[in-house]
Protein backbone atom coordinates (compact mmCIF):
# COMPACT_ATOMS: atom_id res chain seq x y z
CA UNK A 1 0.00 0.00 0.00
CA UNK A 2 2.81 2.34 0.97
CA UNK A 3 4.69 1.38 -2.18
CA UNK A 4 1.64 2.01 -4.36
CA UNK A 5 1.24 5.50 -2.91
CA UNK A 6 4.90 6.41 -3.16
CA UNK A 7 5.08 5.00 -6.70
CA UNK A 8 2.19 7.27 -7.67
CA UNK A 9 4.20 10.20 -6.33
CA UNK A 10 7.18 9.36 -8.54
CA UNK A 11 5.10 9.25 -11.72
CA UNK A 12 5.00 12.81 -13.05
CA UNK A 13 1.55 14.21 -13.48
CA UNK A 14 1.03 16.29 -16.60
CA UNK A 15 -1.18 19.32 -16.90
CA UNK A 16 -2.26 20.50 -20.33
CA UNK A 17 0.13 23.25 -21.50
CA UNK A 18 -2.85 25.25 -22.76
CA UNK A 19 -4.21 25.38 -19.22
CA UNK A 20 -0.86 26.58 -17.86
CA UNK A 21 -0.77 29.24 -20.58
CA UNK A 22 -4.28 30.36 -19.64
CA UNK A 23 -3.26 30.66 -16.00
CA UNK A 24 -0.07 32.59 -16.83
CA UNK A 25 -1.93 34.94 -19.15
CA UNK A 26 -4.65 35.60 -16.60
CA UNK A 27 -2.21 36.80 -13.96
CA UNK A 28 0.17 38.69 -16.27
CA UNK A 29 -1.78 41.98 -16.58
CA UNK A 30 -1.97 42.46 -12.82
CA UNK A 31 1.56 41.29 -11.99
CA UNK A 32 3.11 44.07 -9.92
CA UNK A 33 5.61 43.96 -7.06
CA UNK A 34 3.96 43.43 -3.68
CA UNK A 35 5.23 43.94 -0.13
CA UNK A 36 5.05 40.76 1.92
CA UNK A 37 3.19 41.00 5.23
CA UNK A 38 5.37 41.90 8.24
CA UNK A 39 6.74 39.08 10.43
CA UNK A 40 4.37 37.38 12.89
CA UNK A 41 5.97 39.04 15.94
CA UNK A 42 5.35 42.52 14.51
CA UNK A 43 1.69 41.81 13.79
CA UNK A 44 1.22 40.05 17.14
CA UNK A 45 2.82 42.99 19.00
CA UNK A 46 0.42 45.34 17.22
CA UNK A 47 -2.54 43.23 18.33
CA UNK A 48 -1.35 43.07 21.95
CA UNK A 49 -0.88 46.86 21.97
CA UNK A 50 -4.42 47.33 20.63
CA UNK A 51 -5.81 45.14 23.42
CA UNK A 52 -3.79 46.97 26.07
CA UNK A 53 -4.79 50.38 24.70
CA UNK A 54 -8.49 49.49 24.65
CA UNK A 55 -8.37 48.04 28.16
CA UNK A 56 -6.62 51.17 29.45
CA UNK A 57 -8.90 53.55 27.57
CA UNK A 58 -12.01 51.81 28.92
CA UNK A 59 -10.71 51.88 32.48
CA UNK A 60 -9.58 55.50 32.14
CA UNK A 61 -13.14 56.41 31.18
CA UNK A 62 -14.83 54.28 33.88
CA UNK A 63 -12.20 54.61 36.65
CA UNK A 64 -9.25 52.52 37.85
CA UNK A 65 -11.08 51.26 40.97
CA UNK A 66 -10.05 47.64 40.52
CA UNK A 67 -6.29 48.11 40.23
CA UNK A 68 -6.34 50.65 43.06
CA UNK A 69 -7.77 48.01 45.43
CA UNK A 70 -5.18 45.40 44.43
CA UNK A 71 -1.92 44.75 46.25
CA UNK A 72 1.29 44.67 44.23
CA UNK A 73 1.47 40.86 43.97
CA UNK A 74 -2.11 40.75 42.62
CA UNK A 75 -1.32 43.43 40.05
CA UNK A 76 1.83 41.66 38.89
CA UNK A 77 0.25 38.20 38.68
CA UNK A 78 -2.97 39.27 36.95
CA UNK A 79 -1.48 41.63 34.38
CA UNK A 80 1.57 39.53 33.55
CA UNK A 81 -0.75 36.55 33.00
CA UNK A 82 -3.00 38.65 30.80
CA UNK A 83 0.04 39.86 28.84
CA UNK A 84 1.34 36.34 28.25
CA UNK A 85 -2.09 35.03 27.28
CA UNK A 86 -2.66 37.98 24.93
CA UNK A 87 0.70 37.29 23.27
CA UNK A 88 -0.15 33.58 22.76
CA UNK A 89 -3.62 34.42 21.42
CA UNK A 90 -2.26 37.18 19.17
CA UNK A 91 0.31 34.82 17.60
CA UNK A 92 -2.41 32.27 16.95
CA UNK A 93 -4.68 34.94 15.49
CA UNK A 94 -1.92 36.03 13.09
CA UNK A 95 -1.37 32.37 12.11
CA UNK A 96 -5.07 32.09 11.27
CA UNK A 97 -4.63 34.86 8.69
CA UNK A 98 -1.44 33.57 7.03
CA UNK A 99 -1.96 30.43 4.91
CA UNK A 100 0.43 27.60 5.74
CA UNK A 101 1.37 28.97 9.17
CA UNK A 102 2.27 26.74 12.07
CA UNK A 103 -0.63 26.23 14.49
CA UNK A 104 0.38 25.50 18.04
CA UNK A 105 -3.18 25.12 19.31
CA UNK A 106 -6.58 24.42 17.83
CA UNK A 107 -9.13 27.18 18.56
CA UNK A 108 -10.87 25.02 21.19
CA UNK A 109 -7.54 24.17 22.82
CA UNK A 110 -6.59 27.86 22.90
CA UNK A 111 -9.92 28.78 24.46
CA UNK A 112 -9.44 26.09 27.11
CA UNK A 113 -5.92 27.29 27.90
CA UNK A 114 -6.99 30.93 28.20
CA UNK A 115 -9.99 30.13 30.40
CA UNK A 116 -8.07 27.65 32.57
CA UNK A 117 -5.17 30.08 33.10
CA UNK A 118 -7.51 32.92 34.10
CA UNK A 119 -9.51 30.66 36.41
CA UNK A 120 -6.32 29.43 38.08
CA UNK A 121 -4.95 32.93 38.69
CA UNK A 122 -8.28 34.24 39.95
CA UNK A 123 -8.77 31.18 42.19
CA UNK A 124 -5.32 31.73 43.73
CA UNK A 125 -5.84 35.46 44.36
CA UNK A 126 -9.49 35.83 45.30
CA UNK A 127 -10.73 33.85 48.32
CA UNK A 128 -13.88 35.72 49.34
CA UNK A 129 -16.64 33.26 48.43
CA UNK A 130 -19.42 35.43 49.80
CA UNK A 131 -21.74 36.61 46.99
CA UNK A 132 -23.98 39.62 46.70
CA UNK A 133 -26.24 40.27 43.67
CA UNK A 134 -24.33 37.59 41.77
CA UNK A 135 -26.31 37.77 38.52
CA UNK A 136 -27.29 41.43 38.29
CA UNK A 137 -23.76 42.72 39.02
CA UNK A 138 -22.14 39.96 36.99
CA UNK A 139 -24.16 40.61 33.84
CA UNK A 140 -23.06 44.26 33.91
CA UNK A 141 -19.40 43.16 34.04
CA UNK A 142 -19.92 40.64 31.22
CA UNK A 143 -21.51 43.28 28.98
CA UNK A 144 -18.84 45.85 29.85
CA UNK A 145 -16.14 43.34 28.98
CA UNK A 146 -17.82 42.44 25.69
CA UNK A 147 -18.33 46.11 24.89
CA UNK A 148 -14.54 46.53 25.01
CA UNK A 149 -13.88 43.25 23.24
CA UNK A 150 -15.87 44.24 20.16
CA UNK A 151 -13.70 47.26 19.16
CA UNK A 152 -10.58 45.20 19.97
CA UNK A 153 -11.79 42.50 17.55
CA UNK A 154 -12.60 45.05 14.86
CA UNK A 155 -9.21 46.75 15.18
CA UNK A 156 -7.51 43.33 15.11
CA UNK A 157 -9.32 42.55 11.89
CA UNK A 158 -8.16 45.91 10.46
CA UNK A 159 -4.54 44.99 11.24
CA UNK A 160 -4.84 41.60 9.53
CA UNK A 161 -7.35 42.36 6.79
CA UNK A 162 -4.71 41.93 4.06
CA UNK A 163 -4.19 38.31 5.07
CA UNK A 164 -6.28 35.32 4.07
CA UNK A 165 -8.22 33.44 6.73
CA UNK A 166 -8.45 29.94 5.31
CA UNK A 167 -11.09 29.11 7.92
CA UNK A 168 -13.15 32.15 8.85
CA UNK A 169 -14.87 30.43 11.80
CA UNK A 170 -11.56 29.42 13.43
CA UNK A 171 -10.18 32.90 12.79
CA UNK A 172 -13.31 34.38 14.35
CA UNK A 173 -13.05 32.21 17.45
CA UNK A 174 -9.35 32.95 17.99
CA UNK A 175 -9.80 36.67 17.27
CA UNK A 176 -12.78 36.78 19.59
CA UNK A 177 -10.80 35.09 22.36
CA UNK A 178 -7.99 37.63 21.96
CA UNK A 179 -10.46 40.50 21.97
CA UNK A 180 -12.07 38.99 25.06
CA UNK A 181 -8.74 39.38 26.87
CA UNK A 182 -8.93 43.13 26.19
CA UNK A 183 -12.32 43.05 27.91
CA UNK A 184 -10.92 41.12 30.89
CA UNK A 185 -8.01 43.58 31.16
CA UNK A 186 -10.49 46.47 31.29
CA UNK A 187 -12.54 44.72 33.99
CA UNK A 188 -9.46 43.96 36.10
CA UNK A 189 -8.44 47.61 35.93
CA UNK A 190 -11.92 48.89 36.66
CA UNK A 191 -14.05 46.41 38.65
CA UNK A 192 -13.63 46.75 42.45
CA UNK A 193 -15.76 43.65 43.14
CA UNK A 194 -13.29 41.04 44.44
CA UNK A 195 -15.82 38.34 45.31
CA UNK A 196 -14.22 35.11 44.09
CA UNK A 197 -17.29 33.73 42.36
CA UNK A 198 -17.96 37.03 40.61
CA UNK A 199 -14.43 37.27 39.21
CA UNK A 200 -14.14 33.54 38.45
CA UNK A 201 -17.43 33.33 36.60
CA UNK A 202 -18.29 36.70 35.07
CA UNK A 203 -14.83 38.07 34.31
CA UNK A 204 -13.58 34.79 32.85
CA UNK A 205 -16.82 34.39 30.87
CA UNK A 206 -15.90 37.40 28.73
CA UNK A 207 -13.30 35.30 26.87
CA UNK A 208 -15.55 32.37 25.76
CA UNK A 209 -18.49 34.75 25.14
CA UNK A 210 -16.34 36.96 22.93
CA UNK A 211 -14.90 33.88 21.16
CA UNK A 212 -18.45 32.64 20.48
CA UNK A 213 -19.33 36.05 19.08
CA UNK A 214 -16.23 35.98 16.85
CA UNK A 215 -17.08 32.46 15.66
CA UNK A 216 -20.62 33.59 14.81
CA UNK A 217 -19.25 36.51 12.78
CA UNK A 218 -16.88 34.11 11.00
CA UNK A 219 -19.75 31.78 10.19
CA UNK A 220 -21.87 34.65 8.87
CA UNK A 221 -18.97 35.84 6.67
CA UNK A 222 -18.45 32.32 5.34
CA UNK A 223 -22.15 32.04 4.46
CA UNK A 224 -22.13 35.47 2.85
CA UNK A 225 -19.11 34.65 0.69
CA UNK A 226 -20.71 31.33 -0.28
CA UNK A 227 -23.89 33.04 -1.46
CA UNK A 228 -22.12 35.88 -3.21
CA UNK A 229 -19.87 33.52 -5.22
Amino acid sequence: MNDALEKAGHVPHQVEPALLDRISNSIRPSLRPVHPLPPTWVLASGLVLICAALGLAGAARAGFYGIERMVLSERVLIFSTLGILAWIAAREFVSEWIPGSRRRFTPSMLLTILSAALLTVFAILFRDYHTNHFVSVGVVCLFTGLLHAIPAGLLGWLVLRKGLAVDSVSAGVVGGALAGLAGVAMLELHCPNFEALHVLFWHTAVVPASAALGGAVGLALRKRSRFSS
Binding site: L5, G9, H10, H13, Q14, P17, L37, F105, T106, S170
Partner: protein, 210 residues
Amino acid sequence: MLRDGVQEQNRTGGSLAEGSRLMCLDVNPERLMVSYQAGDFAAARALIELISPQLHRFFIVQTRSRVDADDLLQETWLRIHKVRHTYRRGEPVLPWFYAIARHVRIDHYRRVLRTAAREQRLEEVPRQAAQPSRESDHTDELALILAPLPESQREVLEMLKVEGMSLEEVARATSSSVGSVKQKVHRAYENLRKRMSATGLRRGQSGVLP
Protein backbone atom coordinates in the same frame (compact mmCIF):
# COMPACT_ATOMS: atom_id res chain seq x y z
CA MET B 1 8.14 15.39 -6.23
CA LEU B 2 8.96 19.05 -6.01
CA ARG B 3 11.84 18.46 -3.64
CA ASP B 4 13.81 16.69 -6.36
CA GLY B 5 13.30 19.61 -8.69
CA VAL B 6 12.30 19.53 -12.28
CA GLN B 7 14.97 16.98 -13.18
CA GLU B 8 12.75 14.16 -12.02
CA GLN B 9 9.86 15.56 -14.00
CA ASN B 10 12.00 15.43 -17.10
CA ARG B 11 13.42 11.99 -16.41
CA THR B 12 10.09 10.33 -17.02
CA GLY B 13 7.91 13.07 -18.41
CA GLY B 14 7.75 14.53 -21.89
CA SER B 15 8.30 18.23 -21.22
CA LEU B 16 12.08 18.24 -21.62
CA ALA B 17 12.31 21.66 -23.22
CA GLU B 18 10.04 23.13 -20.59
CA GLY B 19 12.08 21.55 -17.83
CA SER B 20 15.44 22.72 -19.08
CA ARG B 21 14.06 26.22 -19.39
CA LEU B 22 13.00 26.03 -15.77
CA MET B 23 16.41 24.74 -14.72
CA CYS B 24 18.03 27.75 -16.40
CA LEU B 25 15.85 29.96 -14.21
CA ASP B 26 15.80 28.52 -10.71
CA VAL B 27 13.98 25.50 -9.36
CA ASN B 28 13.93 26.55 -5.74
CA PRO B 29 10.23 27.33 -5.20
CA GLU B 30 10.94 29.61 -2.23
CA ARG B 31 13.25 31.78 -4.32
CA LEU B 32 10.83 31.70 -7.26
CA MET B 33 8.07 32.84 -4.93
CA VAL B 34 10.13 35.81 -3.73
CA SER B 35 10.84 36.78 -7.36
CA TYR B 36 7.13 36.38 -8.16
CA GLN B 37 6.33 38.79 -5.31
CA ALA B 38 8.84 41.21 -6.84
CA GLY B 39 6.81 41.16 -10.06
CA ASP B 40 8.99 38.83 -12.14
CA PHE B 41 6.78 37.15 -14.74
CA ALA B 42 9.37 34.51 -15.67
CA ALA B 43 9.46 33.40 -12.02
CA ALA B 44 5.66 33.35 -11.88
CA ARG B 45 5.52 31.22 -15.03
CA ALA B 46 8.21 28.86 -13.69
CA LEU B 47 6.33 28.51 -10.44
CA ILE B 48 3.09 27.76 -12.28
CA GLU B 49 4.84 25.02 -14.27
CA LEU B 50 6.52 23.62 -11.20
CA ILE B 51 3.63 23.58 -8.75
CA SER B 52 0.59 23.05 -11.00
CA PRO B 53 1.11 19.29 -11.64
CA GLN B 54 1.13 18.63 -7.89
CA LEU B 55 -1.90 20.78 -7.21
CA HIS B 56 -3.73 19.27 -10.18
CA ARG B 57 -3.10 15.76 -8.90
CA PHE B 58 -4.22 16.85 -5.44
CA PHE B 59 -7.51 18.08 -6.93
CA ILE B 60 -8.03 14.96 -9.04
CA VAL B 61 -7.55 12.73 -6.00
CA GLN B 62 -10.02 14.86 -4.07
CA THR B 63 -12.67 15.34 -6.76
CA ARG B 64 -12.00 12.39 -9.11
CA SER B 65 -12.80 14.69 -12.01
CA ARG B 66 -10.27 16.15 -14.44
CA VAL B 67 -12.65 18.93 -15.45
CA ASP B 68 -13.19 20.01 -11.84
CA ALA B 69 -9.44 19.73 -11.22
CA ASP B 70 -8.76 22.07 -14.17
CA ASP B 71 -11.26 24.62 -12.84
CA LEU B 72 -9.92 24.36 -9.30
CA LEU B 73 -6.35 24.78 -10.48
CA GLN B 74 -7.22 28.00 -12.32
CA GLU B 75 -9.19 29.30 -9.37
CA THR B 76 -6.35 28.44 -7.01
CA TRP B 77 -3.81 30.37 -9.07
CA LEU B 78 -6.08 33.40 -9.19
CA ARG B 79 -6.39 33.22 -5.41
CA ILE B 80 -2.63 32.69 -5.01
CA HIS B 81 -2.02 35.73 -7.19
CA LYS B 82 -4.41 37.83 -5.11
CA VAL B 83 -2.81 36.88 -1.78
CA ARG B 84 0.81 36.42 -2.88
CA HIS B 85 1.88 39.08 -0.35
CA THR B 86 0.90 36.71 2.49
CA TYR B 87 3.91 34.50 1.76
CA ARG B 88 6.88 35.50 3.91
CA ARG B 89 10.48 34.82 2.90
CA GLY B 90 12.00 31.92 4.83
CA GLU B 91 8.70 30.13 5.39
CA PRO B 92 8.15 26.78 3.61
CA VAL B 93 6.28 27.51 0.39
CA LEU B 94 4.55 24.15 -0.21
CA PRO B 95 2.26 24.34 2.84
CA TRP B 96 1.36 27.88 1.78
CA PHE B 97 0.28 26.66 -1.68
CA TYR B 98 -1.59 23.68 -0.30
CA ALA B 99 -3.37 25.74 2.36
CA ILE B 100 -4.75 28.01 -0.37
CA ALA B 101 -5.57 25.04 -2.62
CA ARG B 102 -7.48 23.41 0.24
CA HIS B 103 -9.34 26.65 0.90
CA VAL B 104 -10.38 26.87 -2.77
CA ARG B 105 -11.45 23.21 -2.82
CA ILE B 106 -13.55 23.56 0.33
CA ASP B 107 -15.21 26.69 -1.12
CA HIS B 108 -15.88 24.78 -4.32
CA TYR B 109 -17.28 21.81 -2.41
CA ARG B 110 -19.68 24.03 -0.46
CA ARG B 111 -20.77 25.77 -3.67
CA VAL B 112 -21.39 22.42 -5.34
CA LEU B 113 -23.50 21.29 -2.38
CA ARG B 114 -25.53 24.49 -2.53
CA THR B 115 -26.03 24.20 -6.30
CA ALA B 116 -26.92 20.52 -6.05
CA ALA B 117 -29.54 21.33 -3.46
CA ARG B 118 -31.18 23.89 -5.75
CA GLU B 119 -30.76 22.40 -9.20
CA GLN B 120 -32.01 19.22 -10.76
CA ARG B 121 -29.59 17.36 -12.97
CA LEU B 122 -31.00 16.98 -16.51
CA GLU B 123 -28.41 14.71 -17.97
CA GLU B 124 -25.24 13.00 -16.86
CA VAL B 125 -22.21 15.07 -17.87
CA PRO B 126 -19.19 12.98 -18.81
CA ARG B 127 -16.71 13.32 -15.94
CA GLN B 128 -13.55 12.53 -17.89
CA ALA B 129 -13.24 15.18 -20.56
CA ALA B 130 -9.51 15.05 -21.32
CA GLN B 131 -7.75 12.32 -23.23
CA PRO B 132 -6.53 9.70 -20.79
CA SER B 133 -2.76 9.25 -20.77
CA ARG B 134 -0.34 6.97 -18.95
CA GLU B 135 0.18 9.60 -16.26
CA SER B 136 -3.52 10.19 -15.81
CA ASP B 137 -3.98 6.42 -15.49
CA HIS B 138 -1.61 6.49 -12.53
CA THR B 139 -3.44 9.44 -11.01
CA ASP B 140 -6.80 7.74 -11.52
CA GLU B 141 -5.40 4.60 -9.90
CA LEU B 142 -4.21 6.70 -6.98
CA ALA B 143 -7.61 8.37 -6.71
CA LEU B 144 -9.21 4.93 -6.70
CA ILE B 145 -6.93 3.65 -3.92
CA LEU B 146 -7.70 6.66 -1.74
CA ALA B 147 -11.39 6.97 -2.68
CA PRO B 148 -12.83 5.00 0.26
CA LEU B 149 -11.18 7.31 2.78
CA PRO B 150 -12.88 10.33 4.34
CA GLU B 151 -11.73 13.60 2.77
CA SER B 152 -9.58 14.71 5.71
CA GLN B 153 -7.64 11.41 5.79
CA ARG B 154 -7.33 11.28 1.99
CA GLU B 155 -5.74 14.72 1.70
CA VAL B 156 -3.31 14.08 4.55
CA LEU B 157 -2.20 10.73 3.14
CA GLU B 158 -1.79 12.19 -0.33
CA MET B 159 0.33 15.12 0.84
CA LEU B 160 2.47 12.90 3.04
CA LYS B 161 3.00 9.80 0.90
CA VAL B 162 2.45 10.97 -2.67
CA GLU B 163 3.77 14.52 -2.58
CA GLY B 164 6.48 13.68 -0.08
CA MET B 165 5.72 16.52 2.33
CA SER B 166 6.91 16.26 5.93
CA LEU B 167 4.52 15.91 8.88
CA GLU B 168 5.25 19.51 9.84
CA GLU B 169 4.44 20.73 6.30
CA VAL B 170 1.19 18.74 6.16
CA ALA B 171 0.21 20.13 9.55
CA ARG B 172 0.82 23.67 8.31
CA ALA B 173 -1.10 23.05 5.07
CA THR B 174 -4.11 21.61 6.88
CA SER B 175 -4.06 24.16 9.74
CA SER B 176 -3.67 21.43 12.32
CA SER B 177 -1.06 20.04 14.68
CA VAL B 178 1.55 17.36 13.87
CA GLY B 179 -0.16 15.05 16.36
CA SER B 180 -3.47 15.39 14.59
CA VAL B 181 -1.83 14.64 11.22
CA LYS B 182 -0.19 11.50 12.65
CA GLN B 183 -3.55 10.38 14.00
CA LYS B 184 -5.27 10.92 10.64
CA VAL B 185 -2.54 8.99 8.78
CA HIS B 186 -2.80 6.13 11.26
CA ARG B 187 -6.58 6.00 10.83
CA ALA B 188 -6.26 6.22 7.04
CA TYR B 189 -3.91 3.20 7.02
CA GLU B 190 -6.25 1.28 9.32
CA ASN B 191 -9.17 2.06 7.02
CA LEU B 192 -7.31 1.03 3.88
CA ARG B 193 -5.97 -2.13 5.52
CA LYS B 194 -9.45 -3.18 6.67
CA ARG B 195 -10.88 -2.48 3.25
CA MET B 196 -8.11 -4.35 1.45
CA SER B 197 -8.41 -7.39 3.68
CA ALA B 198 -12.21 -7.37 3.30
CA THR B 199 -11.90 -7.14 -0.49
CA GLY B 200 -9.32 -9.93 -0.50
CA LEU B 201 -11.60 -12.11 1.60
CA ARG B 202 -14.58 -11.51 -0.68
CA ARG B 203 -12.52 -12.23 -3.78
CA GLY B 204 -11.17 -15.39 -2.16
CA GLN B 205 -14.64 -16.58 -1.25
CA SER B 206 -16.01 -15.95 -4.74
CA GLY B 207 -13.12 -17.85 -6.26
CA VAL B 208 -11.65 -14.93 -8.17
CA LEU B 209 -8.47 -15.16 -6.16
CA PRO B 210 -7.06 -18.33 -4.64
